[in-house]
Amino acid sequence: MRTVILRSSDGADHIVSSEAASLSRTVQSLLEELEAKEGEESPLIVPLPNVCDCTLRKVLQYCIQHTEPGTNLTGRIHVSETRRRDLEVWDRNYMLVSTDELYHLVMAAHYLNVPGLLELCCEGIANLIRGKSPQHVRQHFGLVNNFEKAEEEDIRRTNLWALVDEKELAKK
């Protein structure tokens, strides 16, 4: 297994296996280009100017975790089943990050094109929004209500079906 050096925007190098690095499709295509250009033996250094060091570290944690082969060798189906459950638990714990880290992470996942991680992050962001009233969302995301009065009336009337029950729920 070859190793690859990923260089973050602030110049820190991370050494990972090419298998883990290939989880990112951006890196994978870059690697293929590099291999074609420079041959098999030269060290593969992939510069990633859009990702900072701590975010890249977090992304690589995900990549390494998701490429490690299962240690249990009793049977293939059994392994994949338990491993899948383990990974789900691991993913849940992995997502316990603060909001701004989550945004950095989703940008990195988008740039590096890691489909699983992108999906995971989007779900995490959706969880931040879920179940909040418009006022609550404004407060939580630091947004300003920049509707004009007529506009707001209009959009509220269109979506009254969703807002009415909310009030009833709040009363209970």
């Binding site: 603060s98 992108l118 989007c122 962001i125 947004l143 920049n146 269109t158 979506n159 909310e166």
Partner: protein
């Protein structure tokens, strides 16, 4: 004060670098003295070891007691954090003996970590450190890419001790106040240091350790620091910290795919920018199809016209109205319910009583025997009294008074 022996208390932690901001390395030999490195009390010191893999034993960091609060700004000592262990189990050791004091250091470290720095003028002696209430002013750290604004927006952070809890209030000029309450027992635990036990004079104080720092950082950032940062950046006219609206549109849409219709509708009422994203057909069309099936051509719904959200709302409201109506009909006994049940049978005016019309008059006499229970007197005991007829007769006595 020797760095490697006194501060880090570690003989061999391999290669490590010291930094004040997690990025730029401190110049000078890491094995030298604190004074030589230009460190003073109030600085947050990061111990960085370069590796993505796990460090077998994270270096333990602690501070000598004499340094922390003697000439410090209120409640702030040199805190040492280890970035390599951050990913696994962050550990931190404190110089203070009070757990709330240690918690205060942690909050300060989190504030520094997210780009705020204490204002110099706020350092008004160590008198406030001992009291239960202390206040510190923080400003945004000047970034090299951004020329320093003439007006530096400041926020004041107020630390209040309540026995074993710490309540932190953050106040900004434009945004008002937000607060968070932290229980020391959740994040600080004390343990007798094995090294200290060998020395009789230092046994008296158990060493404090931090646990679950990532969780604390998460709570702090979401409840306290993020709102403050947004407000401060807005006041200074800087570009705001990363937020949902600044993500590229395709990521926003990917996120909204995970939401349900009710949340999306609420989101559309937040602000203009949100409405642009939350009304788009790419998120509403799958929801519409899942809820009401594929739209027929008669509905006139074409993707890309932005008509799916209003259509969804109209259909949903209509369905809710019908549901409510049905429920009311089921619950209200006064309204007739068109279902199976005993219907009123009007007796025929010319037939003998007990014969109600329909096919009854074509049946032979013995079949009518079952209805003798009504006392009509027409054929008392029938020969062919079957169970089926018996059953139907037993349902009828309610109306026998009418016939």
């Amino acid at each position: 004060m020797h760095v490697q022996q006194d501060v880090l208390k570690a003989e061999s932690i391999g290669e490590y670098r010291l930094s004040l901001n997690k990025r730029d390395e401190l110049l000078g030999d890491p094995g030298s003295f604190l004074k030589d490195l230009g460190l003073c009390s109030g600085d947050l010191l990061w111990v960085m070891s370069d590796s993505t893999k796990a460090v077998p034993t994270p270096p333990q960091a602690s501070l000598p007691a004499g340094l922390s609060t003697s000439d410090a700004s209120p409640g702030v000592g040199v805190s040492v954090m280890d970035t390599a262990a951050e990913a696994q189990v962050p550990r931190m050791v404190f110089s203070t003996s009070s757990s709330v004091e240690a918690l205060r250091l942690l909050v300060h470290a989190a504030l520094l970590d997210s780009g705020l720095e204490p204002l110099e003028t706020a350092r008004n002696g160590g008198a406030a450190a001992a009291s239960d209430v202390s206040e510190l002013q923080y400003v945004l750290r000047a970034s090299p890419g951004h020329e320093t604004a003439a007006h530096r927006a400041a926020c004041s952070i107020k630390y209040v001790n309540f026995s074993t809890n710490l309540v932190v209030w953050g106040t900004t000029a434009s945004k008002g106040t937000c607060h968070i309450s932290i229980a020391a027992a959740d994040y600080i635990y004390s343990q007798l240091d094995s090294r200290d036990q060998s020395l009789p004079e230092s046994v008296s104080q158990p060493t404090l350790y931090a646990k679950d720092i990532s969780n604390l950082h998460m709570r702090l950032k979401d409840c306290l620091i993020h709102p403050i940062l947004i407000a401060l950046c807005a006041e200074e006219g800087r570009s705001p910290p990363p937020s949902f609206l600044l993500l590229p549109t395709e990521i926003k849409l990917l996120c909204l795919r995970h939401l349900q219709a009710r949340d999306l509708a609420a989101l559309a009422c937040v602000s203009r920018d949100m409405r642009c994203v939350a009304c788009s057909d790419t998120v509403w069309e799958p929801l519409f199809v899942a809820e009401f099936g594929a739209p027929s051509p008669a509905d006139g719904l074409r993707p890309g016209t932005g008509a799916f959200m209003p259509a969804f709302g109209a259909r949903w409201a209509e369905r809710e109205r019908r549901r409510r109506q049905r429920r009311r009909m089921l619950q209200d006994p006064r309204l007739p319910y068109p279902g199976s049940g005993p219907h009123l049978v009007v007796p025929h005016p010319y037939y003998p009583s007990g014969i109600v019309g329909g096919d009854y008059d074509r049946l032979p006499q013995p079949f009518l025997g079952f209805s003798g229970s009504r006392g009509s007197g027409s054929g008392g005991s029938g020969l062919f009294r079957g169970p089926g007829f018996g059953f139907s007769a037993s349902r009828r006595p309610r109306w026998s008074g009418l016939s």
